[in-house]
């Protein structure tokens, strides 16, 4: 505490000495007026506190009616963000916490623990033994927060186990006993089950994100769900259009199974090829002339047609990689827009 006081003191002096050199005595009078009574609840008075000799400042800090909640100690640079979070999670201000609050913020568990750790430090200073112990523990707790954050992010599944252990040991150890209590409340059967369910659902959502193209960049489950719904709807519309076209083409197609599948594999390999069509697929009716025209094309291009049917399995990879490039699909433009 003492080196920090000395560090702040010159700043304070330099700030004051600018406008009013004679005003220093005025400030000191204010401070001396402050000594017997409780200090005011804004940051300036805290720095005024630091003007005092250290033991008196310690006394002030230790005093019972120290309104510590609204006093962010300026010594710790990370505290401002944490105190913001603490104000956000103002639910945690009271000691007895309703169990629902843990469920609401379960996703940001590490943040929660940070804020909760900060809160008891600020709000329960007066319960602690002494201010140096507080400052030391706050420094320690910040380090421990960071460590635990890393631990937590790496092992989410062991959170339950930690919570189980924590509930047993949620005794009076340190100022952040309330952190343990928060996690300990997860051993409530309802919240544990809900947490397990939510983790399952998040895992499934990740799988779906991999399945739907373009979902990896989106964050937030609502948008991902919208994307999934759009994708499924687009696929169903594609089935509609394709079935319409197939219905139009249908009387002319000979559904010879093996040859058709071989033809599909070939057509997927050589997309740009035209007329590399295996002759086993017939066109009934109108296009006899063109068929004759193509048959000699086929004979010229594919002498090894017989081998393709035996190598049926290997071209399947190209079937799978044939991921509907838009230029090769002769479908409606709206469908192309859907794909893109």
């Amino acid at each position: 505490m003492e080196p920090n006081v000395k560090a702040v003191q010159p700043q304070f002096r330099s700030g004051i000495s600018g406008p009013k050199p004679g005003g220093m005595g005025f400030v000191f009078d204010d401070i001396h007026g402050l000594i017997p009574g409780p200090p005011e609840t804004d940051g300036t008075s805290f720095t005024a506190l630091l003007e005092l000799p250290p033991p008196q400042a310690v006394e002030l800090l230790v005093m019972e009616d120290f309104p510590a909640k609204s006093m962010p100690p300026p010594i710790f640079p990370s505290n401002i963000a944490l105190s913001d979070r603490a104000s956000m999670f103002s639910i945690f201000a009271s000691a007895d916490n309703p169990p629902d609050s843990t469920n609401i913020i379960s996703a940001s568990s590490s943040m929660k623990i940070d804020s909760v750790k900060q809160e008891p430090l600020e709000s329960e200073h007066h319960r602690n033994s002494s201010s140096p112990a507080v400052s030391n523990q706050s420094l320690k707790s910040i380090k421990r927060k960071e460590r635990e954050k890393k631990v937590k992010e790496s092992s989410k599944k062991s959170k339950k186990l930690e919570a189980n252990e924590a509930s047993d040991g949620s005794g009076e150890q340190l100022p952040y006993v309330h952190v343990r209590a928060r996690r300990g409340q997860a051993t409530d059967s309802h919240s544990l089950a809900e947490r397990a369910r939510r983790e399952k659902i998040n895992a499934r959502m990740k799988l779906l994100q991999d399945l739907v193209p373009g979902c990896n960049k989106i964050s937030g489950t609502a948008m991902v769900l919208d994307e999934i719904i759009n994708h499924v709807q687009a696929l169903q519309r594609q089935v509609e259009f394709l079935s319409m076209r197939l219905a139009a083409v249908n009387p002319r197609i000979d559904f010879n199974l093996d040859a058709l599948l071989a033809a599909e594999s070939e057509s997927s390999i050589d997309n740009s090829y035209l007329g590399m069509f295996p002759p086993s697929i017939w066109l009934e009716g109108q296009l006899n002339g063109s068929r004759q025209q193509q048959s000699w094309l086929i004979d010229g291009v594919h002498p090894s047609r017989v081998d393709d049917t035996s190598n049926f399995i290997t071209p399947d990879n190209s079937l799978l990689s044939y991921d509907s490039p838009p230029n090769s699909v002769s479908l409606h433009s709206s469908q192309l827009k859907m794909e893109l």
Binding site: L225, Q236, L242, S243, A248, P251, R252, L283, S290, L320
Partner: protein, 139 residues
């Protein structure tokens, strides 16, 4: 997890069989009326979904729901109290067949499998079209 290779082969074979069956019902000449065209279109679409569902079998909830729809039975609306756990999956359960009677977790599962099968089915249909149309177009 279904290997995409085997899934596709299964879907393809079923679909082609169904289309063969359909072809005998259709008249070889192109249909004159719009109603006839609509009927054919609906028949092909039904064949697509039916072949998809039967290829998957009764193992999946969505395929069971589809088969129920095909056979004309009423939708089994057994709702085990899911509404409070939905988180905005309301639209999804309307789209995926049989989505109402599932809880969120299995709904997401079914959606994933449904998407896989839909993608495979679309690819098959497109390839059939290509193989038939590339022979017909003279370019």
């Amino acid at each position: 997890m279904k290997n995409p290779n085997t899934l596709k082969k299964k879907l393809a074979s079923r679909f082609l069989k169904a289309m063969k069956k359909l072809k005998y019902k259709m008249s070889p000449s192109p249909p004159a009326s719009i109603a006839e065209k609509k009927r054919r279109h609906r028949a092909v679409r039904a064949a697509a979904y039916a072949s998809m569902a039967s290829a998957v079998g009764p193992r999946r909830a969505w395929s069971r729901a589809l088969l129920r729809k095909m056979k004309g039975r009423k939708r089994a609306r057994r709702n085990p109290g899911n509404m409070n756990t939905r988180f905005g999956l309301n639209h999804l359960c309307d789209i995926v067949p049989g989505g109402e009677a599932m809880d969120s977790c299995s709904l997401l599962n079914e959606t994933a499998h449904y998407i896989k099968c839909l993608v495979a089915q679309v690819q098959i249909m497109r390839e059939i079209l290509h193989s038939s149309s590339s022979s017909s177009t003279i370019l």
